[in-house]
């Protein structure tokens, strides 16, 4: 983990809502694990002031590159999308703990909602490499909001896409699909990333079906990105049963769903 100046190799607009950057950073490409993220700033200016956390969407160790897939939300992400090939980004990373990989022979479901699919591609690929056959469920509001479908479908895993309005794939929510699957076959591991309401619903399903290893990747507004400032906490049930706060940047972003206490 360190701070690097990384060159933008590719900058690609994906529809109105999303953007993909490929940047050159061999150290991160060599060491990053699925679920880890980088803390990204475009230059030394004070507007915006803070870096932005973005997951490692995909990486290529041979070429020393990493892919960042993001939704255009505000100053930070829109700023990144306007940078050009050859421009330098300041990258702190890789950060966070990442997903822990499943044990041999386990059945896995990967669930992503909206831009929450970002960290799941590299995860799915890694799992495939290790001969797991994860089922991937991706949910989006509607057809216009779909992102990274191509990349996921090229993996050759079982892929189910749901949209809330039914404009593409199945109609409904990903957690509906998840329950269907769990009720028909035993699932040992769930990996999930997406908006909080989705993660809450996944947490409930995991609890109901007693899936012990349900890993949720959380988001939080960050200060340092390193674990020093205590800005990015989420509520958890500590080992001793007490309520406490854990840092998403350094103790997360991935937490076991049993320990996460949303809304506290």
């Amino acid at each position: 983990m360190n701070v690097y100046q990384a060159e933008i190799l590719t900058s690609e607009k994906l529809g109105q809502l999303y953007h993909l950057l490929i940047i050159k950073q061999p150290d991160i490409a060599l060491t990053a694990k699925p679920g880890q993220f980088v803390y990204l700033k475009g230059g030394k200016g004070l507007d915006p002031l803070l870096p932005r956390p973005l997951s490692i969407h995909q990486l290529n160790q041979k070429e020393g590159t990493i892919q960042l897939l993001f939704q255009l939300k505000g100053k930070g992400t829109i700023g990144f999308s306007k940078m050009k090939t050859g421009d330098l980004l300041t990258v702190l990373g890789p950060l966070g703990n990442g997903f822990s990989l499943a044990d041999e022979g386990q059945n896995i479901v990967i669930i992503g909602g909206g831009i929450g699919v970002a960290p799941l591609l590299y995860l799915a690929e890694k799992l495939q490499e290790r001969h797991f056959k994860p089922i991937i469920i991706l949910g989006f509001r509607d057809k216009e909001n779909i992102v990274a479908y191509e990349s996921f479908s090229q993996l050759g895993c079982q892929l189910i896409v749901a949209t809330e309005d039914g404009s593409f794939g199945r109609r409904g929510r990903v957690t509906g699909v998840l329950e269907e699957i769990i009720s028909s076959e035993k699932i040992d591991v769930i990996y999930a990333c997406g908006p909080q309401p989705m993660l809450k619903a996944v947490q409930k399903v995991a609890e109901k079906w007693e899936v012990e290893n349900c890993q949720l990747s959380l988001e939080a507004r960050m200060g340092c990105g390193l674990g020093a400032c205590m800005a990015c906490v989420c509520g958890v049930r500590l080992e001793d049963g007490q309520f406490g706060y854990r840092r998403v940047c350094s103790e997360g972003p991935v937490f076991n769903s049993r320990e996460v206490l949303f809304d506290e």
Binding site: M1, N2, V3, L49, R221, C224, C229, M230, G235, S250
Partner: protein, 310 residues
Amino acid sequence: MNEPNLAVDFAGIKLKNPVLTASGTFGFGREYSRLWDLNLLGGIIVKAVTLEPRLGNPPPRIAETPAGILNSIGLQNPGVVSFIRDYLPFLRQYEDLPVIVNIAGNTIEDYARVAEKLSNAEGISALEVNISCPNVKQGGLAFGTDPESAYQVIEAVKANTDLPVIAKLSPNVTDITEIALSVEEAGADGISLINTLLGMAIDINSWQPILSNVVGGLSGPAVKPIAVRMVWQTAQKVSIPILGMGGIATAEDGIEFMLAGAKAIAVGTANFFNPYAAPEIVAGLKRYLKEKNIEDVNQLCGALRFTKNN
């Protein structure tokens, strides 16, 4: 020219250079130590330590604002006992790193007890008394906005420690020099200026405050002009040294504070957007002194000049 002298004596603490890291922005040092050698620092000021462990405020605890941030951490910390046992030993590995412990409490008695406990530990160079935290319901800011309460806290801390005591003041006051004079009279050995300014940000989609604590403390480059002004005003009035902070992100910023009258400076929010800010400021300060042919960094302190118009 010889290498310029960067060492300063701050309230009896020997600092090899005047650049510290500000409380709460640098944890207990471990995280940044993975990036660079903490021995590069003049000193470290650790996160506020309280008598009992503190949970802190619910998230969200941070919001970005123009050239600044609002935070409402709420003094989450493991408590003084755990600090001494679990965190201090790590810092003691650094041979030449003065450790200043920021302390906070709900009551004057709290401050006194924390001070006492820390004074019995080894490896602490000074206490920085936080009478200015805007993010806790009791104590905190209330102590820092009233000269009398400020006096009492510092007096109580002084009575319970032999360590140098630095009073960290709140900028949320009509007249900073009034509070500064009061803590000087109470026996403070130095003054830290400034803690955060009370601010607020609203999400115009949800119509809710961004911070769950509603208000938070504003820090970062945005506040620098206010901090420099307060350092300058205070330096005219007190004879104890001033530790300047508030928006310092570059050596140039640090030099402004020293010219205004700060003897040492601390880097806070800048650590977040440039994790190498503190060592870069040390290097930049040295470069500046060389370029200007200044032998000793102490020559900057309070060296502000006035043209005839002023």
